[in-house]
């Protein structure tokens, strides 16, 4: 089961759309669990964005999850990640690889050259849910696992996985469910 928790206010139809698209992409139940507060101490050093790993560690919500459940937090705030060897790059979400929690932001969606809020958020959410099942980035621009900053991601707004990613996610889901 995939549970969606909102950290900011979103129109209900947008959240509903995200839930339906994730359900269609992974073939798993997807529920809108409710909302939670953004942890204040999760802001990064610039105080302009929320640090992804910190946010997931600090977020406090009452969502009950079972062994194979995944929780996706939706926010409209900008996110940041620890600096890597390539410096600072765009960030549309953060997921604990092979873990249970991911946070996705709608920041930057709906502007020129970017998909709409509904479509973009659904695709970003599906992308980071994929990371929760150890899916890596995919070179197919139509696949939801294609890197979010690549032009292919906005070019194909439909939420779909390529054959390889689909099969891999199915295997992982089966393993998570105990065979």
């Amino acid at each position: 089961m995939i549970r969606i928790v909102t950290l900011n206010e979103f129109p209900p139809e947008v959240v509903d759309h995200v839930a339906r698209r994730i359900n269609a992409a992974y073939g798993l139940g997807c529920e809108v669990e409710g909302d939670a507060d953004l942890p204040d101490n999760a802001l990064d050093s610039t105080q302009e964005a929320y640090d992804g790993p910190k946010l997931l560690a600090e977020v406090d919500d009452d969502t009950q999850s079972y062994a194979d459940d995944k929780i996706v937090y939706l926010t409209s705030e900008p996110l940041s990640a620890p600096l890597g060897p390539m410096g600072k790059g765009p960030m549309d979400g953060y997921a604990l690889y092979g873990g249970a929690k991911a946070v996705v932001t709608s920041h930057g969606l709906g502007v020129k050259g970017q998909p709409t809020l509904e479509a973009g958020l659904a695709k970003r959410a599906a992308h980071h849910v994929g990371h929760l099942w150890d899916l890596h980035h995919c070179f197919d621009p139509r696949c939801a696992m294609h890197p979010g900053w690549s032009p292919g991601f906005s070019q194909y707004p439909e939420v779909a996985l390529c054959l390889f990613c689909r099969e891999k996610s199915e295997r992982k889901i089966k393993l998570g469910q105990g065979g």
Binding site: P85, M86, G98, F139, P141, P147, L161
Partner: protein, 402 residues
């Protein structure tokens, strides 16, 4: 305690090729199959699985320490640099990638990933290479994260900032060219169907060709080895897959009697194949020449055989209404050819005549009853004259009389 070449110690984080990042837990003595041995126990970080490697094989399996920060920097330099054109020959690519991956080195994995990434921009990867690409990526992301102590997500994002640079990305002061849209695969439903797009085309074609070659050589060997004894067997089962079709209608005798010039080079069953092969072996001519020669002989034989066959068919000739069916368009040249060369019918090539006549006889015999049987439907009395009554029918008649 020394592990491997002495560079590894208990508690170290190591890379186990194709397994991922592990931590050395210790060295244990285990009795397996009645013999005692020392094993290095590793714990895989990804899922906590325990991996045991014989102490004397630690270096052989490619176990090594996690790369240093300096090495990871080199990796990113390499990723951010413009790459060579991808290797398009799948055989060379497959061999090189397999060698790099089994070697277990960091830069081997890096080269595999970059090479396959470059290839994926040109054409979709075949399934096996797609798996290899994912495996190399998984291993590298794990190692980068372990070496730089950053989360896996950050490691992968950084890896792709170098491979698919976003707008405005720089590396060591140098602006990277932003990524363009890659090659889109076909929608999911059709993705599995198109083998050529997935790159299986070349492999499968080559495999098929190899198989065909093997079959051909095998068949040729069989013919060479057991040519004579196999001949009757081939005769018995000499009904080639396409033979029964013409035999159903009246076309069969026409094809045998007067093959159109265009089909003269085409084989007409196993006998023809065998005779061609024998010719090639005995005379040492090339197959093409042999085929031409055989076709020429067959043509002559057919020309000579026409009058005989026509005579044989004459009593069983169908009624006038059925005539157009029995003699289709491409059979028309037969009488013409017979008219053109009626004189040398018996004498000039008796040897060539015999096999041709033999070959034609059964066909004519088989075809004749059917031809006779067809018109016999409206007039059943005529049929028994053309075809000898079946014994069962005779028995039934006898019983009826009794």
């Amino acid at each position: 305690m020394k592990i491997g070449d002495g560079s590894l110690a208990i508690g170290d984080r190591v890379v186990y090729p194709n397994q991922g990042i592990c931590r050395i837990k210790g060295v244990e003595t285990k009795e397996i199959g009645g013999s005692k041995g020392e094993f290095v126990t590793l714990s895989r970080e990804e899922d906590g699985a325990t991996v045991m490697v014989p102490l004397n094989k630690v270096m052989g399996v490619g176990l090594r320490k996690v790369a240093s920060v300096a090495d990871i920097e080199k990796v990113f330099d390499y990723f951010a640099s413009p790459g060579d054109d991808p290797q398009l020959d799948w055989k060379v690519r497959h061999r090189e990638n397999a060698d790099r991956m089994t070697g277990g080195g960091l830069f081997g994995t890096v080269e595999v990933l970059k090479g396959l990434h470059a290839l994926s921009r040109v054409r979709p990867l075949p399934q096996k290479e797609r798996e290899l690409y994912d495996s190399a990526r998984h291993q590298l992301v794990g190692e980068i994260a372990a070496a730089l102590t950053i989360p896996l997500a950050t490691a992968e994002d950084n890896l792709d900032f170098a491979l698919w640079p976003p707008q405005g990305m720089t590396h060591k002061g140098r602006a990277l060219e932003p990524a363009t849209i890659g090659m889109a695969l076909k929608p999911r439903a059709a993705a599995g169907d198109d083998d050529d797009e997935l790159g299986f085309g070349d492999e499968e074609k080559e495999e098929k060709e190899e198989k065909e070659e093997k079959e051909e050589t095998g068949a040729a060997n069989d013919e060479d080895e057991e040519g004579a004894p196999k001949a009757p067997k081939a005769k018995a089962g000499a009904k080639p897959p396409k033979e029964p079709k013409p035999a159903k209608g009246a076309k069969a005798p026409a094809i045998h009697l007067a093959p159109p010039p265009a089909e003269a080079h085409e084989p007409h069953g196993d006998e023809h194949h065998r005779s061609v092969a024998e010719l090639a072996v005995s005379t040492g001519l090339k197959i093409k020449e042999a085929v031409l020669q055989a076709a020429h002989k067959a043509k002559e034989a057919v020309v000579h055989a026409v009058p005989h066959a026509a005579q044989k068919l004459a009593p069983h000739a169908p009624p006038a209404k059925e005539a157009p069916r029995a003699a289709p368009a491409h059979a028309a040249p037969a009488p013409a050819a017979a008219k053109k060369a009626p004189a040398p019918a018996a004498k000039p090539a008796p040897k060539a005549d015999k096999p041709a006549a033999k070959a034609d006889k059964p066909a004519a015999k088989k075809a004749a009853p059917k031809e006779a049987a067809r018109p016999a439907k409206p007039a059943p009395k005529a049929a028994p004259k053309a075809v000898k009554p079946a014994p069962k029918a005779a028995a039934a008649k006898a019983k009826g009389k009794k």
